[in-house]
Symmetry: C2
Subunit: 345 residues, 2 copies
Amino acid sequence: MPVGTAGTVKAVHQREHAGDIGAQIILGNTYHLYLRPGLQVLQQAGGLHKFNGWQHPILTDSGGYQIFSLAAQRKLTEEGATFKSHIDGSSHFFSPENVMDTQRIIGADIIMALDECTPYPCEYAYAKNSMHMTHRWLDRCVSRFRSTEPLYNYSQELFPIVQGSVYKDLREQSAEYIASRNCFGNAIGGLSVGEPAEEMYAMTEVVTNILPADKPRYLMGVGTPVNILESIALGIDMFDCVMPTRNARHGLLFTRNGIINIRNEKWKNDFSPIEEESPLFSDTQYSKAYLRHLLVCNEFLAAQIASLHNLGLYLWLVKESRRRIQDGSFMEWKNKMVPRLSQRL
Amino acid sequence: MPVGTAGTVKAVHQREHAGDIGAQIILGNTYHLYLRPGLQVLQQAGGLHKFNGWQHPILTDSGGYQIFSLAAQRKLTEEGATFKSHIDGSSHFFSPENVMDTQRIIGADIIMALDECTPYPCEYAYAKNSMHMTHRWLDRCVSRFRSTEPLYNYSQELFPIVQGSVYKDLREQSAEYIASRNCFGNAIGGLSVGEPAEEMYAMTEVVTNILPADKPRYLMGVGTPVNILESIALGIDMFDCVMPTRNARHGLLFTRNGIINIRNEKWKNDFSPIEEESPLFSDTQYSKAYLRHLLVCNEFLAAQIASLHNLGLYLWLVKESRRRIQDGSFMEWKNKMVPRLSQRL
């Protein structure tokens, strides 16, 4: 899922997402959308799909993560989270109940439960208490979710989130609890927060062994192309990450053959296409030298081309993974791709 | 001509230009392209078309205007102009001869003569002396142009530029001189530099009465939608202006029904399309409220949508003008459109 924080995946038109990249779903951030344009505008628009012109599914996070990464003066209690807007300092309160209502109003197709995403490293005792609070919050989310109706005449579904930091027993306990809530799909949170990749994979494996395989399993906030392939190998079905778009804006390109820092002098006279093997119009119409020039000149088109490129690569990776899982060649292909994808060009 | 200063019309993909907006030609700024990416890169790329992926004509200015509006420590002599780069302070020299060579290397289809664009207001004596120097420079340009060959296997043509400030006799004298050089097309410079619109129209009329009607007449740096229509009525065939793209980035939209400042609170809950009558995908897919939200959040997509919109409107204006000139309804339509286009919505 390309990340469309404020209702837009930065620098990418909706028709490019749907038509060129082939994205099936995008993510919106509840924290940002709640602050701007705000629920009044979104409700009057008829939900985010109508507001931003994206006609395919949208998943929204609960806003919890942004409260802890962006907002000022946040305070967490059993009741919920109080915080001040990073934009104008105004005070707000998110609870398990009101984030259900908020995400319904935003018009998400997939609504995420409010959780506490523990940092890394995290003491065992803190992780355990936090996990239990996340579970209690989940029950409040489920209760509110089930007692309210979808808006705008389409279905809305709830995903709960497994926590438990890097502790196997907590992850197992949390995965059992989350699975028992019998929701439409299930998510794994609290990973990709600074822990070594090996710990992330280990926890993912613990959890995917428990979460039902016939429902989507969503690993939140992951990751590099290699992280994506390794996690697919562990049974993950859905991802979101700002990495493809954020890195694109800084000139870091992920390609089928490795990683390119397009600011590097070595691309100055490289007039070969950005990525020859890509079917994306912008990957073959523009050269590396041109993209480098645009980035050096701080031109809008640099972010546009690079974001399209990285998203195109990510979407190609997951599409190719699906195909190869079906024909039985995924593991062989994954093991061949991992060293290629991670080398620096 | 959309203005593509550094080899990119800001925030617009080449396929959007050619396919969605229907631009037939774009402009590049010699001053900027000479500094970045520089002639070595452009020559090695095989010219700007190959470099930026634009397969239709490109016109480049001579760089003279930017030397006086952007560069530091410029000095003008009969020989040419010395200046320091606004980017790194390095020293450079442009002469009538070397700007011909530079534009050939850039790969322009239409090359502009080096001129001095007089400011407004301008003393008669200064305007007269400057005009004569511009004419002498033109002779040097023509001489160099005719003694050198087109590069990259396509034709390159030279346009001279009429000067003379707001003085009728100078404009007449200059137009006679420029017409006598018998170039492929002819341009009018030194207007749209702060003079009242009525003076601009008056000078344009003086000049178009002299410049041959069977060759393109190009009014440089003009203007608002109304300026464009009024100048077409006076016999102008070509325009360039940063106004549609620069104003777009600040949230000022030109529409068939008037001017919109999309930052205005009144558009906050206006979910109607940006411009219903427009065939442009972005004008009908996105709403005014969404564009306002994007602009308030300083999102890339705001510049993308607004730039497409304004360019689309400009290209529609000139396309519609061509059609109505052919069917004889131009003047009636122009007189109906002028008050509509200039009202504030």
